[in-house]
């Protein structure tokens, strides 16, 4: 009997972000040009395209010029060009603008966008070219044939907390594809599976990440002009051991995009990135701009920033990995969107050749690696390959070494090997500095006007999850979690999670236990990255669940 719940396609792209959509568009262009009829499907777990997309974003437009024709490029939705471009060093009460921007940080005349908007636009173009896009579907498994991946299986829905089938059970559709392109974005769960199972990390460093928190505000007329762009470093970070900084861009219509990113290789078990963002907003420079404004949206996402040294092998039989899932972010410039587009296009070139040859083995797909090496991706990533590693030594020493690397095409003496972010957190007892929660104890009250507690912040992400499903955040071993994460580390997840998913519940007998509020999750994946001993695994919840970003 025909299996009604099984589909077949030539190319399946998982993830409708900039890399996945660029791959689909470029491939469709090439196929349409050659008069070839092939089926391209894109699926995304967000309720609609763009719902799970979050970025600064200041972009380099060049990649889009390559992807799109002139008219398509003209209509790319943007928030204007950068007209003022400043880097500020913040101290608790003052700011100092650097006379010139650090290397790779010149953004004058670059384009400001909302990546959610751009992705919705790209999706529309792709559909016009015959690409089928389905949002609201989560993929949690591969289908195999003799050890080879030949397709994916969407997540089953209609199970209860214990995973038991309910009356409204709906088995996930299986999709067989000649070629699968994983474009899941940062810390993709399928990409993680593939990299582990096929040992693709053999020759690369582990990936390291930052957590970026972003808010979108409506501000009073005149507070800021569209096109003003500020990057800050220093306060409130302890720049000796914490890496990161803030950004604030003036958009159209008195809107402001602002955010704060912090490297997840920090040691303080109580560091709270969302609180950092809230404290940062209280700095006079930021506060003045936001005065009398109101928050519109909130979100968070991790950024893979290990750079070239953390890029794993990116192809196996029938499968390619692109974009943030591959780790294509140029770190000192804080830019990955254009590399995502380029990697998508490289994947499309490769897919085209494979489709023509009808050969999807590594022998053909190896071409993808060649294309990456000859593209702007290597050109931009290779010279700065040690940036993030030397920066782990603190802003000043790291900055000095990064300076050296600039004149040696990236070579830096005594480059430390970046450990996994889950290994850098120190136990409470072993952490020598002043703990974050003590350092800022008088700044952790939020007024709900300028600053917000996490529950309120989460409200502005629009996130929602069906409560009838397995908790998508999986703790490997609760006893070990209690003994180590709670007792020794003081449960860092309650601090690093920007969405108040993890609560340390203390009962009357003073027992400490983990309580998970999975419904708050904004899919940033920090817990999957930063939890000591990798005790927490982020699995995808039902498709359509999660944040509802409109203009992030």
């Amino acid at each position: 009997m025909e299996d009604k719940n099984r589909l077949f396609t030539d190319v399946l792209v998982v993830g409708a972000g900039p890399s996945g959509l660029s791959c689909a568009i470029h491939l469709a262009n090439k196929l349409n040009c050659g008069g070839e009829k092939k089926r391209i499907m894109v699926i995304d777990k967000g309720s609609e395209v763009g719902a799970h997309i979050l970025s600064g974003a200041l972009i380099k437009e060049e990649a889009f010029k390559e992807l799109l024709n002139e008219e398509e490029f003209e209509n790319l939705p943007t928030q204007g060009k950068v007209i003022i471009d400043k880097t500020l060093k913040l101290s608790p009460s003052s700011s100092y603008a650097l006379p010139f921007n650090p290397p790779y940080m010149n953004n004058l005349n670059r384009t400001i966008i909302s990546l959610s908007q751009v992705c919705r636009y790209l999706a529309k173009l792709a559909e016009e070219k015959g690409v089928e896009i389905y949002s609201g579907f989560a993929v949690d498994n591969f289908i195999y044939d003799e050890g080879n991946i030949i397709g994916i299986k969407c997540k089953d829905t209609g199970v209860n907390h214990n995973g038991e089938k309910q009356k409204n059970f709906q088995e996930g559709t299986k999709v067989e594809a000649k070629l699968i392109v994983l474009a899941e974005g940062t810390r993709g769960s399928l990409a993680k599976k593939v990299k582990d199972k096929f040992n693709l990390r053999a020759k690369s460093n582990p990936q390291s990440y930052s957590l970026g928190i972003k808010e979108l505000w409506n501000v009073k007329e005149g507070s800021i002009k569209g096109g003003e762009a500020y990057h800050t470093f220093g306060y409130p970070l302890n720049t000796k051991e914490e890496f990161g900084g803030g950004f604030l861009y003036g958009l159209k219509d008195n809107k402001v995009a602002l955010g704060f990113a912090v490297g997840l290789d920090y040691e303080d078990p109580t560091l709270d990135p969302n609180a950092l963002m809230q404290i940062w907003k209280q700095h006079p420079f930021i506060k003045n701009i936001l005065k009398d404004g109101n928050i519109v949206e909130y979100g968070a996402k991790t950024i893979p920033e290990g750079g070239w040294n953390s890029v794993s092998k990116l192809y196996i039989d029938n499968l390619l990995i692109v974009g943030d899932s591959a780790g294509f972010v140029a770190m000192p410039a804080l830019k990955g969107v254009h590399l995502a587009v380029t990697s998508g296009m490289c994947a499309a070139e490769t897919a085209y050749i494979a489709l023509i040859k009808d050969d999807f083995t590594e022998a053909t797909l190896k071409k993808y690696e060649k294309l990456i090496e000859n593209s702007r991706i290597k050109k931009e990533l290779y010279p700065v390959r040690n940036f993030r590693a030397v920066m782990s030594q603190g802003l000043f020493y790291g900055g000095y070494k990064f300076g050296i690397s600039l004149v040696t095409n990236g070579y830096s003496p005594l480059t430390p090997l970046l450990p996994k972010d889950s290994k850098t957190t120190k136990k409470l007892k072993e952490y020598n500095g002043e703990l974050f929660k003590d350092r800022f104890k008088d700044k952790l009250e939020f007024d709900k006007v300028l600053t917000f507690d996490k529950d309120t912040s989460v409200f502005y992400s629009g996130t929602a999850h069906d409560e009838e499903q397995l908790v998508h955040l999986h703790v490997k071993n609760m006893d070990e979690f209690n003994n180590s994460n709670i007792k020794e580390y003081g449960m860092p997840c309650q601090y690093f999670c920007p969405a108040a998913v993890y609560e340390e519940h203390i009962d009357k007998q003073n027992n400490h236990a983990l309580k998970i509020h999975a419904e708050n999750c904004v899919h940033c994946k920090t817990c999957d990255i930063k939890t000591p001993n990798d005790e927490i695994t982020w699995n995808t919840p039902y498709g359509g669940d999660g944040p509802q970003y409109q203009n992030m």
Binding site: N5, R6, N168
Partner: protein, 653 residues
């Protein structure tokens, strides 16, 4: 021939994004749209039925603008076979009466409802979030001439019959219905399944059949504003009238509760008295023609609903607006109450004591329990005979189906779930006419944020009144009235739906309305399944305080609390002296059901919970710590400021 399952579906704006146009009609252009929640439960019920009826075909029907396509496609992606949309600009402005007629006409066009021995089942949502009337399923059933069961939570299929579990006041009822029939589903049954990817791909390739009114032979004058017996005359904003809460503070639970006790003694914050503005009488132009559209219809008819052989409290409440309306009309306007049941004549006096001028008794042993078909038929016969100008029902699960089904028989409009009923005048500037007198039915709408005034121009003008809104009139044993008996003509087929079982709990409706203090649990109290709350209630009862427990909707959805105890827009409106909200976040739907309480105390561990903006006293903390402390204090004499020993005192008005 295989069974056809027809699902009626409406697309609605996301409740949080609803806006209204200047014309008082819904502006659907700006909000993001979803399938109405209740309808999505009906879609699932259809799919469940299909799994029980081999070879059944599933079709989904809707009426609305072309944008409804997306929701119809979603139904296909869930597993429906065909989709139909009645879409025509001329349908704009249709009220429920016209909508019920239009949908039925489309179904007839599709070949259903034409004769005997048909094999189809209509499933629909209980009500829509942008209308909240719950009329359409009943009106479609009447137009199609088939039996119905509304407010259904669960459906089984046995030997060609539907076994449906229907929510009634204070409990539930198991009904057995033949095919064809109409079922309306509450959103408490099986949640809608998520579409599969394969289904979504199929939906992409399936075409929705779109009909215009000409396609289904529906004439202009039967739909839109001209086909609608009711109009929305006015819409006003509703504003909250509660002063900011006093936050109790203290180190530890004991201090916190102590602080509450102290604060209750000191009294709550009060708003500065706003002087009630004299409502300006609208100037009515003198040269306009005054139209009395009643054409001889006179009097107010109400229904006395029974439960466990007693007259329900909401039915007695109805006599308050009924009397007020009668007093505002010509002198001699009578309040007549219809009492239907088996061996119920002795109850007639009770109605007269509460203000009825005449009680019509229909006594028949087949009518012991309420059933829609015979009861609506009796109402039709009484209305034909007595020709009342107004008919009032309480907005119980029975009243909310009986009113619209009766209204189709009498060609009247219905206004659902009213909180105010007054006599007024309507100015028709276009035609230089004044309709007078006319019933102004006011009902909260759009998530309780607006108060809409609805007018009907056909007699009887029918409304259902929200339970708990009006006071029970004082009982006066010296009141005089007439008791008449009426023998209706009933047919065998009026009894085609069998009642298998009726279950009414001890708690629920009446107790909830009578209690001086209600302790309600929300999602935050799922942990102990409200055990602590029940303990507190029992402790209060032991002290002679009339206390009850209630809940917000999630607790009913979780099956922890029965529907009859649900407080809120889709449950009960209560007005106790003290309302304690425990672990309730404060969704607007819940607020709607308790905001009239004298004193509101909120316990929630999230200091930013919105319930605190609707309360007088706020306790931030874990209920599992606070309630045991409260129980302790109640044992020692704390009574939330209420009098003890069963002395209820008189209610503040």
């Amino acid at each position: 021939m295989a069974t056809t399952i027809i699902s009626l579906m409406k697309q609605v704006p996301l409740p949080s994004q609803m806006r209204m146009g200047d014309d008082g009609l819904m502006d659907r252009t700006k909000a993001k749209s979803i399938i109405n929640i209740d309808c999505s439960f009906a879609l699932e019920a259809g799919l469940q039925l299909k799994s029980m009826i081999s070879g059944a075909k599933l079709i989904v029907c809707s009426m609305g603008p072309p944008s409804f396509n997306q929701s119809l496609k979603k139904a296909i992606s869930m597993g429906y076979d065909e989709a139909y949309l009645l879409s025509d600009r001329k349908l704009g402005g249709s009220d429920t009466f016209a909508t019920g007629l239009a949908i039925s006409t489309m179904l007839k066009h599709l070949g259903f409802g034409k004769g005997a021995n048909e094999d189809f089942i209509i499933v629909a949502g209980r009500q829509t979030s942008d209308g909240d009337t719950a009329h359409i399923p009943s009106q479609v059933a009447e137009n199609m001439g088939i039996p119905q069961a509304t407010f259904i939570e669960d459906i089984q299929y046995e030997d060609g019959h539907i076994i449906a579990r229907r929510i009634i006041e204070g409990g539930y009822q198991i009904l057995k219905l033949p095919k064809p029939c109409t079922l309306s589903l509450t959103p408490t049954g099986i949640p809608p399944r998520r579409p599969s990817l394969a289904g979504t791909v199929r939906a992409r390739e399936t075409k929705v059949t779109v009909f215009s009114i000409d396609d289904v032979n529906l004439s202009d004058e039967k739909i839109g504003l001209s086909g609608s017996p009711t109009i929305v005359a006015k819409v006003a904003n509703i504003k909250s009238q509660r002063a900011p809460a006093i936050f109790c503070d203290g180190e530890g639970t004991s201090d916190l509760v102590e602080s509450l006790i102290e604060n209750i003694k000191k009294g709550k914050n009060s708003l500065e008295e706003t002087v009630k503005k004299e409502i300006k009488k609208k100037e009515m132009p003198e040269d306009y023609e005054r139209v009395d559209f009643r054409k001889g219809a006179s009097g107010i008819l109400t229904w006395a609903e029974l439960a466990n052989g007693e007259i329900t409290r909401p039915s007695l409440e109805l006599l308050t607006p009924a009397r007020n309306l009668a007093n505002s009309l010509e002198s001699g306007t009578k309040v007549t109450t219809l009492l239907i049941g088996s061996k119920v004549e002795h109850l007639a006096k009770e109605l007269i004591y509460h203000g009825s001028d005449e009680v019509i008794v229909v006594d028949d042993e087949r009518l012991e329990e309420y059933r829609i078909l015979p009861f609506s038929s009796i109402f039709e016969q009484i209305i034909k005979k007595y020709n009342p100008e107004i008919a009032l029902f309480s907005a119980t699960t029975a009243g909310r189906e009986l009113a619209p089904r009766t209204a189709v028989k009498t060609q009247s409009g219905v206004t659902a779930d009213c909180t105010s009923l007054e006599i007024g005048e309507h100015l028709d500037r276009k035609n230089k006419r004044i309709f007078s007198p006319i019933l102004e039915s006011r009902r909260p709408t759009y998530g309780e944020s607006k108060l809409a005034t609805i007018l009907g121009f056909h007699c009887p003008q029918i409304s259902t009144a929200r339970a708990g809104t009006f006071e029970v009139p004082p009982r006066d044993e010296s009141a005089k009235g007439k008791i008449t008996t009426f023998k209706p003509v009933l047919e065998e087929k009026d009894f085609i739906t069998q009642i298998i079982k009726t279950v009414r709990g001890d708690g629920g409706l009446a107790n909830l309305f009578d209690a001086d203090i209600i302790i309600s649990g929300g999602r935050g109290t799922i942990g102990d399944e409200m055990k602590l709350i029940k303990d507190l209630v029992n402790t209060l009862k032991d002290k002679g305080i009339s206390a009850e427990y209630g809940s917000s909707r999630p607790m009913v959805d979780e099956g922890i609390c029965e529907y009859a105890r649900q407080v809120g827009q889709t449950g009960k409106t209560v007005r106790p002296k003290v309302y304690v909200a425990v672990g309730i976040s404060g969704a607007i739907q819940h607020i709607a059901g308790m905001k009239e309480s004298d004193t509101i105390i909120a316990i929630n561990k999230h200091s930013n919970a919105s319930i605190f903006s609707h309360s007088d006293f706020a306790l931030v903390g874990d209920y599992e710590d606070i309630i045991p402390e409260l129980i302790d204090r109640v044992k020692k004499g704390f009574a939330f400021g209420l009098k003890q020993n069963g002395d209820k005192g008189s209610k503040d008005v």
